[in-house]
């Protein structure tokens, strides 16, 4: 514990060490974790049960019809096809949910981000710590979901474990830019529109429930630039074990670029808001 100690303090002055940027960030993550310990049961329940219900309805219910009527989709049964789609789409939804209203709350309503930025923690670290927490929770939820889906037969390949980091990557690719956007708004009036006009369409049309080639020709390229499509492809490649290394690298690279830009934008937005 003592190596986390920094700051001007008599009790620890002798052992003072300059913390790297990660340590102050983790303190913000710690705050989120402490709150989470109060309602972790409900958090897990909603974070894992909701996608499992989709899996039951789409993968098993609808999937039975699809498999009978049409046979395998992209070489796997419908349950295996839709499992990674639901995984990635759920991560995206969590990203939107965590990055719109709560971010505005931290900056404009409850202002707890301002409180943190008055300490040695910098605005960028406040953002980083909050982002990291969402990523950690996604990792946990995704692990449970993948494990249960595997028991139900939705994860044919042992590569399925790689779907967890893939989902986390998808989470961050949405959370980083959405956080920046939310941080810069003066009110939350546009947030429901973002949910309805961006998140829901992506949820439905990014290869989540059916391959994007089913889309009208003019829509297909649009789906392919959606970060969700890349996250879905990556997750699906993992759970079905069917993705080539080059394609996987391409998707990872795309997501990393989105993450890099999103983080830069967010760090700037947090600086402007918390230390302008």
């Amino acid at each position: 514990m003592s190596d986390l100690v920094a700051g001007a303090d008599d009790a620890v002055a002798g052992r003072r060490r300059r913390p790297g940027p990660l340590v102050p960030m983790l303190r913000v993550t710690e705050r989120e974790a402490r709150i989470w310990t109060r309602y972790w049961q409900t958090s897990l329940l909603s974070g894992v049960l909701t996608p499992l219900m989709f899996l039951g309805a789409m993968g098993i219910g609808l999937g039975g019809l699809v498999d009978d009527a049409r046979g395998p989709v992209d070489g796997v049964d419908y349950l295996a096809f839709v499992t990674p789609g639901i995984l990635a789409a759920t991560a995206m939804q969590a990203a939107a949910g965590n990055s719109l209203w709560p971010v505005m709350g931290g900056i404009k309503w409850e202002k707890q981000f301002h409180a943190a930025a008055a300490t040695p923690i910098s605005p960028g670290q406040v953002f980083g710590g909050y982002l990291l927490w969402g990523a950690a929770r996604t990792a946990l939820n995704a692990t449970l979901f993948v494990a249960i889906a595997a028991l139900l037969g939705g994860v044919p390949s042992p590569w399925g474990v790689a779907a967890v980091p893939a989902a986390v990557l998808g989470y961050v690719a949405f959370a980083a830019p959405i956080t920046a956007y939310a941080a810069l708004q003066d009110s939350d009036v546009t947030f429901p529109l973002i949910m309805r006009l961006a998140i829901v369409p992506m949820f439905l049309f990014s290869g989540t429930f059916f391959p994007v080639r089913q889309l009208p020709d003019w829509l297909e390229p649009l789906a392919r630039v959606s970060p969700l499509w890349h996250a879905v492809e990556l997750c699906r490649g993992a759970t079905t074990g069917s993705l080539g290394a080059l394609a996987a690298l391409g998707h990872v690279a795309f997501l990393l670029v989105v993450i890099g830009l999103g983080c830069r934008w967010s760090v700037r937005a947090f600086h402007a808001r918390l230390a302008g």
Binding site: G7, A8, R27, H114, A115, A118, T119, P120, A275, G276
Partner: protein, 327 residues
């Protein structure tokens, strides 16, 4: 052992150089928002152990100045040194040694009273054992022991303010910044808070506070500056300022009708040092208020009411800016 943070002895971490260097040193400090000048070239210095105040009306630039000192707002121009360091390069190191009470409470509404202190301690990187010990002391300091496990929302305004102050002390700051510590509180809550701040002062904690209450400034501040429209218009101890810019006593005359006030004014000329007509009353500045009142009556002026009081910072502000503080 003292329950409260005090750092009157220079710590080994002090890069402040010679002990007599002020904790805050501002020269021609300026802040612009676009083309709007919120703080317009102010000079001031705050010494270790003193309570220093910014007194000024709404929009004077008090919060803007405090935010620059707190290293959460970059300066536009001029010089600013805090604890011997430059906020542009040492923001985190400076903030590690500050305690900040912002104008609007930003307590963590998702945490309990206790956890508010604990998490804030973690933000400063303190070990859990140290935090627990201090949080217990600070809870007592803030008179909130019986609200330990309560959430923040149901607390009264005064309790929230005391908790915010307690939270600001978790890192044993060298310097505590209080932006309008008692605005919006009822008189009783205000007095309780003042008493807490006195205690901090006795423990040697350097405080910088802003207020637009002249009584608060008079009660708490060793030294203060009066700010108006981004500039400092006067500087000194409350007593010095009153001596310099007001008289020992002030006679306040009120008239039943505005016309009566207008009619009386010519008759008041020459009484005391100065006569200042306001919208609702006339102020007569005189070292002996009762003597001035006697003169008023002698001249046949019959005010609706007359009151002799001591000269105050309100009078100083009026004198310097031509406006009253609450205008």
């Amino acid at each position: 052992m003292s329950a409260l943070p005090s750092r009157s002895d220079p710590s080994p971490l002090d890069d402040a150089g010679p002990g007599d260097e002020p904790l805050i040193h501002a020269k021609a400090l300026t802040k612009k928002f676009g083309s709007y000048v919120a703080v317009d070239g102010v000079d001031f210095a705050v010494q270790r152990g003193e309570v220093f105040g910014f007194l000024g009306p709404n929009g004077a630039g008090k919060t803007t100045t405090m935010r620059m000192i707190a290293c959460v707002s970059p300066i536009t121009d001029g010089e600013l040194r805090i604890l011997g360091m430059d906020p542009r390069h040492h923001g985190p190191a400076i903030r590690a040694r500050l305690g900040v009470v912002p104008q609007e409470d930003n307590l963590d509404t998702e945490l309990t009273v206790w956890d508010n202190l604990v998490i804030y301690g973690r933000y400063f990187g303190l070990p859990s054992g140290v935090i627990r010990e201090r949080a217990a002391e600070l809870l007592a300091f803030a008179h909130l022991e019986d609200r330990r496990d309560s959430r923040v929302d149901p607390l009264s305004g005064g309790m929230k303010r005391r908790l915010t102050i307690a939270r600001a002390l978790i890192n044993k700051p060298d310097l505590v910044l209080l932006d309008e510590p008692t605005t919006g509180l009822d008189p009783q809550a205000r007095h309780l808070l003042w008493e807490r701040l006195y205690r901090l002062k006795r423990e040697g904690v350097t405080q910088v506070l802003t207020t637009h209450y002249m009584d608060e400034a008079e009660q708490l501040c060793d030294r203060l500056v009066i700010m108006d429209e981004g500039r400092i218009v006067a500087e000194g101890s409350p007593r010095e300022l009153i001596e310099r810019h007001s008289t020992r006593e002030v006679l306040e005359l009120r008239f039943a009708l505005p016309d009566e006030q207008d009619a009386a004014l010519p008759h008041l000329e020459g009484i005391g040092e100065r006569v200042e007509p306001l919208a609702e009353r006339v102020l007569v500045y005189a070292d002996d208020g009762d003597a001035a009142l006697a003169q008023v009556t002698d001249r046949g002026v019959r005010p609706h009411s007359a009151l002799v009081r001591r000269g105050s910072l309100e009078d100083v502000f009026l004198r310097l800016t031509g406006r009253s503080l609450d205008e």
